[in-house]
């Protein structure tokens, strides 16, 4: 309302405590000129939003217990996430401020809750009903609200221009800067923020670091600091108790179907998929049996989940009859458009089998490491020229790329055996190729490489045909002159 009248003196006041602000153009005469032309034609009485400011409500929970493990990792304590869910019933933008504070953007909620006083009252009532001690403050900048709340100064600042003057009386310790910075401030004789704001900027930046000056800028509203809204982690979790105990795994698979169907619907509503599922089978006594499911790709299709679950359950040995089961989904992941099926909702039996589903089924029963691909590596040493690949290119679109990569590798024109032994087999003297009467088909091919990584080889390779007609790949170690069998041409 009175913003227009107040702007020039307030800006002057805001600029006054920092005479050294001259090099920064933002604090120079520019702001004084900017709001005036926009505001001049407007009658002073009209309710005009002079600036697009936000209003932050900070709440600090001084008695919240922070487990040392989460404090060390920098993660928010679990209790704060629960409180965050409460706060989300008042505004969509809630950010967690470790270790023990929340920051709510309330400007966007004012119309819904009619007035700031009403909203403030509702928030305080919510914390009281939870039986928690809180300190709260409202300010147009994030750090100002937090700092006020930390020292228990329940301020309610509406105007960004008033920030500097209202923060002046706060003790410096509310900034929770590191101990060394606070100690140097104390040695300078500064205890209040007001004294700090009066100091020249350049000197302040030199003594306390640029980060401290930036904090002050944010607190006084000269610089904006956006916050990321907290998004609660979502999972599907459902428990089902059976009327009778189930002993047979086949029945268990049927019993899982309705829960799995609800899980698939839950995922479909959120346009999300999962890559892991956990099934907990509870018995009358003894620990629950855990069944973990891993999928080759992100999916929300009931049929695929049921396929994998069926294969996995077939391998489970039940220690006791099952009384209840609980299905817990892994982290929800956004579904890519390619894996959606037009008729996906039509139920089981729709759509052909895909490579992805086949690999999932095989892996569910045989184990992750039993199903793999192979890739060639451009290396002259035979044993270093290939590797196993666990991440398969199951996406049909990915194939041409891999094809091009394979074609780019320059292949040795020399023949290579189809079976390569993990370790070359030493041929005893009595079995040396000459004595065996093996017939040379191809060779020698000298391979001398790898001196740089300590696994150097110096060998002469030959293709020979042995007495029974088998084609072998043998080599002679150049140093020791001993013969080895390294592969078979199958």
């Amino acid at each position: 309302m009175f913003a227009v009248a107040e702007v020039p003196p307030a800006l002057a006041a805001a600029a006054a405590p920092t005479p050294a602000a001259a090099p920064v153009p933002a604090a120079a005469p520019v702001p004084a000129a900017a709001p005036v032309p926009a505001a001049a034609p407007v009658p002073a009485a009209a309710p005009v939003p002079t600036r697009r400011t936000r209003l932050w409500y900070a709440v600090v929970f001084p008695h919240l217990l922070v487990p040392p493990s989460t404090a060390a990792a920098g993660a928010p304590p679990p209790g704060l996430e629960v409180l965050c869910l409460h706060a989300q019933s008042f505004t969509s933008c809630v950010s967690i401020e470790p270790p023990n504070a929340l920051l709510l953007e309330v400007k966007g909620s004012l119309r819904l809750f009619e007035s700031l006083e009403h909203l403030h009252g509702l928030l305080d009532a919510r914390w009281q009903s939870l039986g928690i001690t809180t300190h709260s403050a409202i300010a147009p900048s994030t750090l100002a609200a937090l700092w006020c709340a930390r020292v228990g100064f329940s301020a309610c600042i509406h105007e960004p221009t008033l920030l500097a003057s209202r923060l002046a009386s706060l003790p410096v310790a509310c900034t929770v800067w590191d101990a060394e910075r606070l100690r140097s401030l104390r040695s300078m004789g500064i205890t209040r923020l007001g004294e700090l704001l009066r100091l020249p900027r350049a000197g302040l930046a030199r003594r306390l670091g640029v980060a401290a000056v930036r904090d002050l800028d944010i607190a006084t509203g000269r610089e904006a600091e956006p916050r990321r809204a907290f998004v609660a982690r979502q999972r599907f979790r459902e428990r089902m108790d059976f009327e009778a105990e189930i002993e047979n795994v086949a029945y268990l698979e049927r019993a899982c179907e309705p829960v799995l169907g609800r899980c698939a619907r839950f995922l479909r509503e959120r346009q999300a998929g999962v890559q892991a599922l956990q099934l907990r089978l509870r018995h009358r006594d003894g620990p629950a049996t855990l069944v973990r499911l891993g999928l080759a790709g992100i999916t929300g299709e009931q049929r695929r989940l049921a396929d994998v679950l069926g294969e996995r359950l077939a391998r489970v040995e039940l220690p006791a009859p099952v009384r209840a089961l609980e299905l817990v989904s892994g982290r929800l992941q956004p579904l890519s458009a390619a894996s959606l099926d037009v008729f996906g909702a039509c139920g089981r039996g729709a759509g052909p089998d895909t490579a992805q589903r086949l690999v999932e089924r095989l892996r569910a029963r045989l184990g992750e490491s039993a199903v793999y691909g192979v890739a060639a590596i451009p290396d002259h040493r035979p044993e270093a020229a290939w590797r196993r690949v666990q991440e398969l290119l199951l996406d049909p679109d990915g194939a041409p790329l891999a094809n091009a990569a394979a074609a780019a590798v320059p292949w040795d024109p020399m023949p290579r055996p189809l079976w390569l032994f993990d370790m070359p087999v030493l041929l005893a003297d009595a079995k040396s190729p000459q004595r065996q009467g093996w017939v040379l088909e191809h060779g020698p091919e000298r391979i001398e490489s790898g001196w740089w990584d300590g696994k150097g080889v110096a060998r002469d390779y030959y293709c020979v045909r042995e007495g029974h007609g088998g084609k072998l790949w043998i080599f002679q170690e150049r140093r020791t002159k001993s013969w080895y069998l390294h592969g078979v041409f199958a």
């Binding site: 094809n403 993990d422 045909r465 199958a490």
Partner: protein, 228 residues
């Protein structure tokens, strides 16, 4: 009367005509090797062998059994040209090749040298023979694999029948490698070969010898692979 009854049993649906029924992979027609095949075949890359096989190549959507005297006789090499060709000719999506329980590690550079698309090759190493058979049935019946190669020490007739049905349902070529000692056991495979070492002249290198044991729609006997 009996004939009518049989005819009814053969026609589950009104719409199926005689031609449809004959195109079904499960129907075995006796005919000579020169007749046009009802389903596609893959050339073996060897003209002498092609001439002896009905349709002129490896049959698809069926089970082929290879009995090997020893490893290293070129048993996989028999099939590699056909596998490369079927991957290269694929118009929509390159089909998968699945190798189940190979006796040694398949050597990637050798396969790439031959032209196999390694991005579409799946190696499965199951712990037991039963799991290998199960994996083979799954892969054959999935419809995404062009060929499934399976190495086994021994298996029973019932499992082989299941593999054959899965191969027909999934339109895939199933190749089963078994030791030669199973030569005299009955097998539902539509094509049975034996690859053994020949005891030829003492001075020349022994060459592996291929014998057709059972050919549906063809004549069994020895095949000279070295012939032009």
């Amino acid at each position: 009367m009996a004939c009518f009854g049989a005819a009814k049993m053969w026609m589950p649906r009104e719409s199926s005509s005689l031609a449809d029924l004959l195109a079904d992979a499960r129907v075995w027609k006796l005919k000579d090797a020169s007749a046009a095949p009802s389903r596609p075949v893959w050339s073996t890359g060897n003209s002498a062998l092609d001439a002896r096989l009905p349709g002129g190549g490896w049959p698809t959507a069926s089970l082929v059994e290879v009995l090997i005297g020893a490893t290293g006789l070129g048993e996989v090499q028999l099939f590699l040209p056909a596998l490369v060709e079927c991957q290269r000719k694929a118009d929509v999506e390159i089909p998968w090749l699945v190798w189940i329980a190979p006796p040694y590690e398949p050597y990637a550079p050798a396969l790439a040298q031959q032209g196999i698309d390694l991005a579409r090759l799946l190696v499965v190493q199951p712990a037991t023979a039963t799991e290998a058979l199960w994996a083979a049935e799954q892969a054959l019946g999935s419809g995404v694999c062009a060929a499934v190669l399976l190495w086994l020490k021994g298996t029973d007739d019932r499992w082989l029948r299941r593999l054959k049905l899965a191969a027909e349902a999934g339109r895939a070529l199933g190749v089963l490698f078994r030791p030669e000692r199973h030569r005299f056991e009955s097998s539902p495979a539509s094509l049975r070969l034996a690859l053994t070492s020949a005891q030829s002249g003492a001075q020349t290198a022994p060459q592996p010898r291929l014998e057709l044991l059972k050919v549906q729609g063809g004549r069994p006997g020895f095949v000279d692979l070295a012939a032009p």
